[in-house]
C-alpha cells in the first residue's frame, strides 16, 4: 500500500479535511463542523449530524474543542475526528500507519496543548508522518496569481476566522513571528454583537446560535464608507424572513417580488447589516453597546487599534526591504473574509495609511472558497519535495519525545 497524504485544517468552526488524490482539478475538502451539539431533546450530535437530524435548532447547545483559540478539549475533539475519518473514507478504514498528516493549529498555541496534540497524533492514532503548522504558513503555497508571476516569498496573510483575526507576515515561507498581530474580532464576536442588537431591537434570539449565524451570513456586509451608509440606511434596509418551519427552516432574505403571508414574522434590518462588521474598523463598537464597558473610563480613554492599524504595525515590524513587498502581496483567507466588500474596504483603508509610493494589493482566492485556501495550500505543500524534510516520523517522535517535537513546530518567543 502506497503512502497517502492527508491534510487537516483544524479550524475552530469547520474542520477542512481531505486526501491529496493527485488530481489537480476540482479538489475540495470535506467540511465538518468542529463541535458537538446537543439539541433540545437531549440528543448529542457530532459534527454535521445535527443538520440532518433536526430542523428545529432552537435552544441548541454547542460544545467546541477550542477555548479562546486554544485546543483544550481533546475529549471533545476525538469523537469529531473519528467521525471525520469515517466520512473521509466510508468504504475502508483509514490506516494511519501509511498516512502522512499535515495538521494546522492556531498560532501561539500554548506549548503544553500543542504537545498534547502531538501525543494524540502519534500515540493514539499512530500516524506515520506528521507536520504541524499555523494555517497561514500554508497560504504561500497557493497560487493567487491573476497575473503571470506571483510573489510567494513575501506575503502578508490576513486570516479572519471564527475566533479572531490573525495578521501574519510570511517571509520565504516562514512566519515572521515579530510581525504577527491579532485582532479579537472574528465570526463568533460578530455573531454575539448581532445577537445583542437584534435581541434588543426586535425579537429575543439569544438561544438561536444557528439562526444568528444565518442572518449574519445572509445580510451583513462591510460598508465602503460607514458614515455615508448610515445616512442612507433606509435604502440599505432588507427584510429577513424568520423560519416558520413550514416553508423555511433556516430563514431567508426577502426578494423584491417575494410574496409573504400576513402572519410571517420578519426582521427589518438596516444599520445592523453594516454596523456589526464595522467592528473590524471600529473595535469600540464591541464595548460601547454594554453598560459596564461603556461606563468604564479606562476603556473609553484607551485608544483601540483597528484592522488597518494592526496591518500597518505588522508590516512595519518586518525588515525594511521586505515592507513594500509585503504590502503589494496581501492575501485574505478564512471564513469571515467572505463578508461582502471585505477586500475593497481593506484596500481603500490600507491605501490611505501606507506610504503613497507603495503598491497595495489585496488578493482573495479565485475559484476557491476563502476558508479552504489554507487547506489547498496544504495539498500543494504535500506535492512538493520539501514536505519530506520538514515532517516528523513516528520513529523520530518515539526516539526524541514530544518536547523535541514542539521545538520543531512551535512558535518563537518574542
Amino acid at each position: 500500500m502506497s503512502k497517502q497524504y492527508l491534510v487537516i485544517d483544524n479550524g475552530s468552526y469547520n474542520i477542512k479535511a481531505g486526501f491529496n488524490t493527485g488530481d489537480e482539478s476540482d479538489i475540495r475538502p470535506l467540511k465538518i463542523q468542529n463541535a458537538l451539539t446537543k439539541t433540545k431533546d437531549g440528543v448529542i450530535h457530532i459534527g454535521n449530524q445535527y443538520q440532518a437530524q433536526t430542523n428545529n435548532f432552537s435552544g441548541i447547545l454547542f460544545r467546541r474543542p477550542y477555548d479562546q483559540g486554544h485546543l483544550t478539549s481533546w475529549e471533545t475533539e476525538k469523537p469529531i475526528w473519528d467521525y471525520t475519518f469515517d466520512e473521509l473514507s466510508p468504504k475502508k478504514e483509514l490506516d494511519p500507519t501509511i498516512t502522512h498528516l499535515t495538521l494546522t493549529e492556531s498560532p501561539f498555541q500554548l506549548p503544553q496543548l500543542s504537545t498534547s496534540t502531538d501525543q494524540i497524533i502519534f500515540e493514539e492514532y499512530g500516524f506515520n508522518e506528521y507536520y504541524r503548522c499555523a494555517p497561514a504558513s500554508l497560504v504561500p503555497w497557493v497560487d493567487f496569481s491573476d497575473d503571470a508571476k506571483s510573489n510567494n516569498d513575501f506575503m502578508l496573510v490576513i486570516d479572519s476566522g471564527f475566533t479572531c483575526t490573525w495578521i501574519i507576515p510570511m517571509i520565504y515561507q516562514c512566519i515572521h513571528w515579530e510581525g504577527v498581530r491579532k485582532l479579537p474580532v472574528g465570526g463568533k464576536v460578530l455573531n454575539g454583537l448581532l445577537r445583542e442588537l437584534i435581541s434588543f431591537r426586535h425579537y429575543d434570539i439569544t438561544d438561536e446560535p444557528v439562526l444568528v449565524n444565518t442572518i449574519k451570513e445572509k445580510t451583513c456586509f462591510l460598508a465602503d464608507d460607514f458614515n455615508k451608509a448610515l445616512q442612507s440606511r433606509q435604502k440599505l434596509q432588507c427584510e429577513f424572513i424568520l423560519p416558520d418551519f413550514k416553508t423555511t427552516t433556516t430563514g431567508y432574505v426577502r426578494g423584491p417580488k417575494d410574496k409573504i403571508s400576513i402572519d410571517t414574522q420578519l426582521l427589518r434590518l438596516s444599520d445592523e447589516r453594516f454596523a456589526v462588521p464595522e467592528a473590524y474598523y471600529h473595535p469600540e463598537i464591541l464595548f460601547d453597546n454594554n453598560d459596564t464597558t461603556a461606563g468604564s473610563s479606562v476603556v473609553q480613554s484607551t485608544p483601540l487599534k483597528n484592522l488597518t492599524d494592526l496591518v500597518v504595525e505588522s508590516i512595519m515590524a518586518c525588515p525594511e526591504v521586505a515592507r513594500p513587498l509585503l504590502s503589494a502581496n496581501i492575501s485574505l483567507v478564512g471564513g469571515s473574509v467572505s463578508i461582502p466588500n471585505f477586500r475593497n474596504r481593506l484596500l481603500s483603508e490600507l491605501t490611505k495609511e501606507l506610504p503613497s509610493d507603495w503598491f497595495v494589493k489585496v488578493h482573495t482566492g479565485t475559484g476557491v472558497e476563502n476558508d479552504e485556501i489554507s487547506w489547498l495550500g496544504g495539498i500543494n505543500l504535500t506535492n512538493d519535495d520539501i514536505i519530506n524534510s520538514i515532517s516528523i516520523s513516528k520513529k523520530d517522535y518515539f526516539e526524541h519525545g514530544s518536547n523535541w517535537c514542539q521545538k520543531q513546530f512551535g512558535f518563537k518567543n518574542l
Binding site: 447547545l61 481533546w74 479579537p184 463568533k188 461606563g295 485608544p303 483601540l304 483597528n306
Partner: protein, 228 residues
C-alpha cells in the same frame, strides 16, 4: 520572597520545584539537589544541623523573566490600570463569544462514538479511554484553559501568548496620559453610536451608565429600558 521554606504540604503540590542548597558554615560546600519535595525531606534529614536554603524555582524563573522584560520596556510590567483594562475587555469579549445564554454542556460519561468500521473483536472498548497512559490522561482531562495556563512552566511563552491577546489596545497612551500627550500618533475619533437606534451620537451620553444616545426620544427610551 525568593527564599522560602518548603511548605508542609509539599508533597501534594508537585508542580512546584524546589532547589535547595545546603550552606556549609565551615566553608566546605556541598550542594544537595533534590527534585521534588518528597526527596527533599529525605536529604534534609540526613544532613541534620546544617542551615539549608530552599529556592522556589518557579519564583526564581519569574524574577528572571521579569528582569529581562524590564530591560525592554523600562518600567514595571503592567500598571494597575492596564490590568483592570485587560480584565474588563476580556470579560466583555468572553460574553460576546458565548454562543447561547446557557453555558455549554458536559459530555455524558457513556457518550462514545463508534466508527462505522468498528469491529468488536479487534478493538476491545478502548476507543474512548486512550491507548497509552499519556493519551488516556489527555482524553480524560476535562480541564479549562486557565488550569493549563497555571501549569505552564515557561513564563516567556505565557507572556507572549497573553500579550498577543491585547495587541489591539494601545497601552503606551494610557501609561503616558499624565504626562504631556504625544503628538506623533494621531488617532481617529471614536465611532459613537446611539444605543437605541444606531445613529451617530457624538455628544450626548447618559450620565448614569455611559451609553450613548442621539436624541431626546432615544434618551427617554433608553432610560426606560436599558439604563441600569
Amino acid at each position: 520572597m525568593l527564599v522560602e521554606e518548603i511548605p508542609k504540604s509539599a508533597n501534594s503540590n508537585s508542580s512546584t520545584i524546589y532547589f535547595s542548597s545546603s550552606i556549609n558554615l565551615t566553608a566546605r560546600s556541598t550542594v544537595a539537589r533534590g527534585g521534588q519535595g518528597q526527596e527533599e525531606d529525605g536529604s534534609g534529614a540526613s544532613k541534620k544541623g546544617r542551615a539549608k536554603v530552599n529556592y522556589n524555582v518557579n519564583s526564581l524563573m519569574n524574577a528572571q523573566t521579569q528582569v529581562n522584560d524590564s530591560k525592554n520596556t523600562s518600567g514595571p510590567l503592567k500598571s494597575a490600570q492596564q490590568v483592570q483594562l485587560e480584565r474588563i475587555v476580556s470579560k466583555r469579549l468572553v460574553e460576546l463569544n458565548k454562543e447561547s445564554s446557557s453555558s455549554t454542556f458536559e459530555i455524558p460519561k457513556n457518550f462514545n462514538y463508534n466508527s462505522i468500521h468498528f469491529n468488536a473483536s479487534k478493538h476491545n472498548k478502548k476507543s474512548r479511554s486512550g491507548q497509552t497512559p499519556t493519551t488516556k490522561r489527555i482524553l480524560s482531562a476535562r480541564r479549562n484553559l486557565n488550569s493549563y495556563f497555571e501549569e505552564e512552566r515557561n513564563l516567556m511563552s505565557i507572556n507572549t501568548i497573553l500579550g498577543v491577546n491585547y495587541q489591539f489596545m494601545d497601552f503606551t497612551e494610557v501609561a503616558s496620559k499624565s504626562k504631556k500627550p504625544k503628538v506623533d500618533k494621531i488617532y481617529r475619533p471614536r465611532l459613537r453610536l446611539c444605543c437605541i437606534c444606531g445613529s451617530k451620537s457624538n455628544y450626548s451620553r447618559c450620565y448614569l451608565c455611559g451609553l450613548f444616545y442621539c436624541s431626546v426620544q432615544c434618551n427617554h427610551l433608553h432610560a426606560e429600558s436599558r439604563c441600569t
